[in-house]
């Protein structure tokens, strides 16, 4: 049955696309517009990109507030445990003596080891890398891309002549866990400063709402539309708050994993080929997701079933 729905929806989409593609030579009109613009004209009113994003954040929030009226907005930082009363108590107990504690200590050791050139991670980051998790990911105007904390950690290594670490799990994630831990209770405050940043944001947003894989599911299908429902052994978490507790220790993994690790797993679960760690698409997705969680506090690292 699902297959039939999938196929028909694809067919409809295809027909739509072919119908639309007939009236799509915007290049010529754009060209004329550009040449017309050559004269010095009155400066166009600057677009308020942050304002547009703030509108999205508002709508996103009220969706979840309406869907889960008993849950305080701030609590969405707790992922599935924000909405799952049955397991929340147990989770809070686990968080008292969390399974990721050792990883934080390890991360600190890695963080403090000096590079061969005598510098260290602290030299690469604002405030010596303490209490800054809430500022990531950010849009970097110089390189014209989204910089996640994990990418920044490896950039720091490269700048100092060290080989990059592998993403997803292991040393790099331990370092990011240590940095997140030093940032607990800081509020996420991600910005969309300009058009290029807005483009990255929109790209991440489109990813979130696009159906993928043989099972034809979008992130939004599971984590927005049917958030709170059961899927096999899992209850689906709301997407608001997704990045706040990262990286997370999952029992199924037996260790900490980054948000990118989770993205890959969620892609695979719908039989979509996962993208590379820190690919542009995943970084834009993380940018979008973190913006949707603006105002919530950092509570990573965190533990999950």
């Amino acid at each position: 049955m699902r297959k039939i729905i999938t196929l028909t929806s694809m067919l409809v989409g295809f027909v739509f696309l072919t119908a639309c593609s007939d009236n799509s030579p915007p290049t010529s009109t754009e060209k004329t517009r550009n040449t017309e613009k050559a004269k010095p004209a009155v400066a166009a009113k600057p677009v308020n990109y942050q304002g547009k994003v703030d509108q999205d954040i508002k709508r996103f929030r009220s969706f979840y507030s309406n869907k889960f009226p008993g849950v305080e907005l701030d609590n969405f930082k707790d992922g599935i445990y924000a909405i799952d009363e049955a397991t929340r108590e147990q989770w809070l107990e686990i968080e008292e003596f969390p399974p990721y504690e050792l990883s934080i200590d390890e991360g600190q050791e890695f963080f403090e080891i000096a590079f061969a050139n005598g510098k260290s991670y602290a030299d690469c980051f604002d405030n010596k890398g303490q209490a800054i998790r809430q500022n990531y990911p950010y849009f970097d105007n110089d390189s014209n891309q989204v910089i996640t904390l994990e990418l920044a950690i490896n950039q720091c290594r490269k700048t100092n002549g060290e080989t990059p670490l592998s993403y997803g799990q292991g040393e790099l994630v331990a370092i990011s866990a240590y940095m997140a831990n030093s940032s607990r209770d800081q509020k996420f405050d991600i910005k969309v400063p300009n058009k290029a940043a807005y483009k990255a944001y929109m790209n991440g947003k489109q990813f979130f709402y696009s159906k993928r894989g043989q099972l034809n599911f979008s992130c939004a299908d599971c984590h927005l539309k049917i958030a709170g429902s059961n899927l096999r052994a899992d209850r689906l978490s709301p997407a608001i708050g997704h990045p706040t507790g990262m990286p997370v220790y999952r029992s199924a993994w037996g260790e900490l994993g980054s948000i990118g690790h989770r993205y890959r797993e969620c892609n695979k679960n719908v039989r979509a080929e996962p993208l590379a760690y820190q690919s542009e698409a995943y970084r834009n997705l993380e940018y979008y997701q973190t913006l949707m969680s603006n105002g919530l506090v950092v509570n990573g690292p965190s533990s999950r079933k």
Partner: protein, 98 residues
């Protein structure tokens, strides 16, 4: 004379089997190209490369019919991935909260 006849039969059988084994190759190549196209837009299905690997194995084992069937299935998947990309591009905003 008789042995020559046998020889010919064996040779022709052998070349036929090579021919059969090779027949799925273009289709497998086509599947690989289609898979890459879907991957390029970020809509490759994780099942497609498995089908292609299975098709290659079937071809190696001389099971041409199966190889073609698997390669065709892979092509279909890659095409569906592209359709999905197009559908998503046109409709993703439909499921945004208003």
């Amino acid at each position: 004379m008789k042995s020559l006849k046998y020889c010919l039969i064996i040779v022709s059988m052998f070349s036929a089997s090579i021919c059969v084994a090779g027949a799925a190759e273009p289709l497998i190549e086509k599947a690989e190209v289609a898979r890459l196209k879907a991957a390029e837009v970020g809509f490759e299905w994780s099942t497609t490369s498995i089908l292609i690997a299975e098709a290659k194995q079937a071809a190696e084992d001389g099971n041409n019919e199966l190889a073609e069937k698997l390669a065709n299935a892979a092509i279909k998947q890659a095409e569906n991935g592209l359709k999905q990309a197009a559908f998503s591009a046109a409709h993703w905003q439909d499921s945004e909260p208003r």
